[in-house]
Symmetry: C3
């Protein structure tokens, strides 16, 4: 672990793969074998399990548990108490006898936001700069810049890199960035 990592006196960091500038707050726990990039913020009570992978500048707000099987790329925002998973049909007896089955993975791509209290049902991929609304329950992949809300989560528009909703001509009313369709999602025009 880099000397430039801040670990709160009541926090717990067992990983030696945490990048410089990262802060780990009270009652948070980064397990041995977890990979955390530079300049991340791991909020109170958060958990990063052995096998989880976080890029640089990832924000893990308070109370978020990042499991083995989850990868979040650079600049991802995991909102307060959002819920991640790594087993689609969990039962308590699983993994108690016999071989461990592979996890159902979650991939959260660069810059995406998972809103407060949202739930991601694995396996699932959240696209670049997508925005999952607070309290949404995501059961399908979300495309790049997709904006989804509700239970189950449904697409309701497109999100700019800055977070604002795009106008119908795929332009940001705030920062002016323009987008165009690419595959199922958007890309900068």
């Amino acid at each position: 672990m880099s000397a430039e990592v801040f670990v709160h006196p009541k926090g717990l960091c067992e990983s030696d793969r945490v990048g410089p500038g990262t802060r780990i707050w009270a009652f948070a726990h980064v397990q041995k074998g977890a990979v955390v990039g530079a300049d991340c913020n791991i909020g109170q009570g958060a958990f990063v399990e052995s096998g989880a992978v976080l890029g640089d500048r990832v924000t893990v707000k308070n109370g978020v548990h990042v499991w083995d099987g989850v990868r979040a790329e650079d600049g991802v925002f995991l909102g307060p108490a959002c819920v991640l998973t790594n087993r689609r049909r969990p039962r308590s007896q699983q993994g108690r006898q016999g071989p461990q089955v592979p996890w159902d993975p979650i991939l959260i791509r660069e810059g995406a936001t998972i809103g407060a209290g949202a739930v991601l049902v694995c396996p699932v991929t959240i696209g670049r700069y997508a925005l999952v609304g607070a309290g949404a329950v995501v059961t399908r992949d979300v495309p790049d810049h997709g904006l989804v809300v509700g239970n189950p989560a449904r697409p309701v528009g497109w999100a700019c890199q800055c977070g604002q909703t795009l106008s119908p001509d795929l332009r940001c009313p705030d920062c002016g960035l323009a987008y165009e369709q690419k595959g199922t999602g958007l890309t900068e025009a």
Copy 2:
């Protein structure tokens, strides 16, 4: 901090503005600069951030994170793991360079209840003695004594001061209190 504040040996209180009779439980954390009234109960793993303001007799159940930008008046009940926010369109890069934008505020008025696991999307005001049902995702203001449920939360009736649902003539079948319309909400008749 008053001598009459109880802080669990595994809890953490850094604020000197906590009222007498308040209890702070294990793995809970009240930051310096947070304001907490008298006779509050701050449950396990809860967080009260610098800048947050709680009145007297506020119940913060386990796992609730109260951010800068949130104010809860006297007698508010924040149910287990309910989720508060202070940024409507969060992105991880926000606030990392340049000036910090003001928070999107949450105001929870006297005596209101936020149900277990409910999510409040800021900015929003929850009226006096309103009752937000468990698991509701609130995207609009709730009037005084309003009762809302669902995702997104919709009004389904009115709540008495005691918690009971009012009958159609705006009377409480349990405690007998009578109400009348006032503005968008109710007031005691």
Copy 3:
């Protein structure tokens, strides 16, 4: 407390009624008077309150708070950050003066799964091997092997003991087990 109970150095176990093989992780807290069976797993930040009762082989994932008034039978899986309750219409003033009213109970029967981030609104019973989907908000009893999702939670099928969804002829496409109707739920044929 049995010598064979593992308590993480940052965890807290005050109960002397915890069965052998049970593990209690960092920042988790089992209160005096809580009953926890053998071979349970109590995840980071979890809470088991005085009066709560857990059977054997119960999995309590990170961030789950198990209150007085809750009973979970053998083999139950409480998914990450799922939310339990013990008061249907909570107000902060309740229990502050006068006698304490009885809790609204939750019973989770053998082998059932509560999905990640799901909310159980008390009083409620979850049947044997029922499967509550991630993010569901349960307001009514769920029958044995019932599969429910959504807010409010609605039945959408039946779950096998192994977790798989049954085909229309009530047979498991994965493990082959066959079921038949019994009362409002299913039982093994």
